[in-house]
């Protein structure tokens, strides 16, 4: 069987393609519109969400560092107070020993 014979045989006997629904183009267009609006929403939401995450992370980091500073300050105050008390105690001991 040559090309032409086979082509003829196939064209004459192959099943017909089912008719498309008359509104198929409109239906596909609706899907396209829905998809594009979903994408648009995503493009709007994704940067907004990223910015929010960055802001939250930065604020949390700054709160942590402020807390750390506060802690360091309190610790230094405490150390100073302890040093003063120790000095007072040593002085008292020294005075009492020397008076004897």
């Amino acid at each position: 069987m040559n090309d032409e014979t086979l082509k003829e045989l196939l064209k004459q006997n192959v099943s017909m393609v089912p008719e498309a629904a008359p509104s198929e183009a409109h239906r596909i267009w609706q899907h396209l519109e829905q998809t594009s609006s979903r994408r648009a929403r995503w493009w709007l939401l994704a940067p907004a969400t990223s910015i929010l995450i960055v802001v939250l992370a930065v604020s949390q980091f700054s709160t942590k560092s402020e807390a750390l500073k506060e802690e360091e300050y309190l610790f230094s105050q405490w150390s100073e107070m302890v040093r003063e008390v120790d000095t007072d105690v040593y002085q008292d001991v020294f005075i009492s020993k020397s008076s004897r």
Partner: protein, 163 residues
């Protein structure tokens, strides 16, 4: 997308739908035809700016349709060859019409051969256009056509179809 785009899309659909639906129907059958037609037109429309004028728009559309069909068949793990010709008893064979015989002959081909047969014989594409559509060399198209023709000859001759 504007209303103007909708009109353009309808025109685009009308220009290509017959050919695209024809190819999809021959490759995947009726069950997935509606969904795949939608997928092909959505992909083509969304990527229409990427289309280079180097080839015909129809060749580009055929290529998208072919790729969608291949993806679908891969996902479904569906065998293109249903094995029906071998399983059919002789008594049943005699009552099968020529149309059914040709359909079985086509179903007996694997996707690679079936796609070149559909594009070349049924969609009247040239060997170069088939090669462009499938992204394969022209020599490969010729060899697949020859192999498919031999297989069809063998199958139809074996079933008593006068050639």
């Amino acid at each position: 997308m504007s209303l103007h785009s909708k009109e353009e899309f309808i025109k685009f659909y009308e220009d290509h739908s017959v050919k695209i639906r024809g190819l999809l129907f021959r490759l995947v059958g009726e069950a997935a035809l509606k969904d795949l037609t939608q997928e092909v037109f959505m992909k083509a429309w969304m990527h229409r700016k990427k289309f280079r004028q180097e080839s015909e728009a129809s060749t580009w559309m055929y290529r998208i349709a072919y790729n969608c069909a291949v993806d679908y068949l891969r996902k479904e793990s569906r065998k293109v060859s249903h094995g029906l010709p071998e399983l059919m008893p002789d008594s049943l064979e005699q009552s099968v019409s020529m149309r059914q015989m040709v359909e079985l002959g086509l179903a007996n081909l694997d996707l690679e051969h079936k796609s070149v047969v559909v594009l070349f014989y049924l969609e009247d594409l040239s060997v170069k256009e088939v090669a462009d559509t499938l992204g394969i060399p022209e020599g490969t198209v010729k060899s697949r056509l020859s192999h498919a023709r031999d297989k069809m000859n063998k199958f139809l001759g074996g079933k008593g179809v006068p050639l």
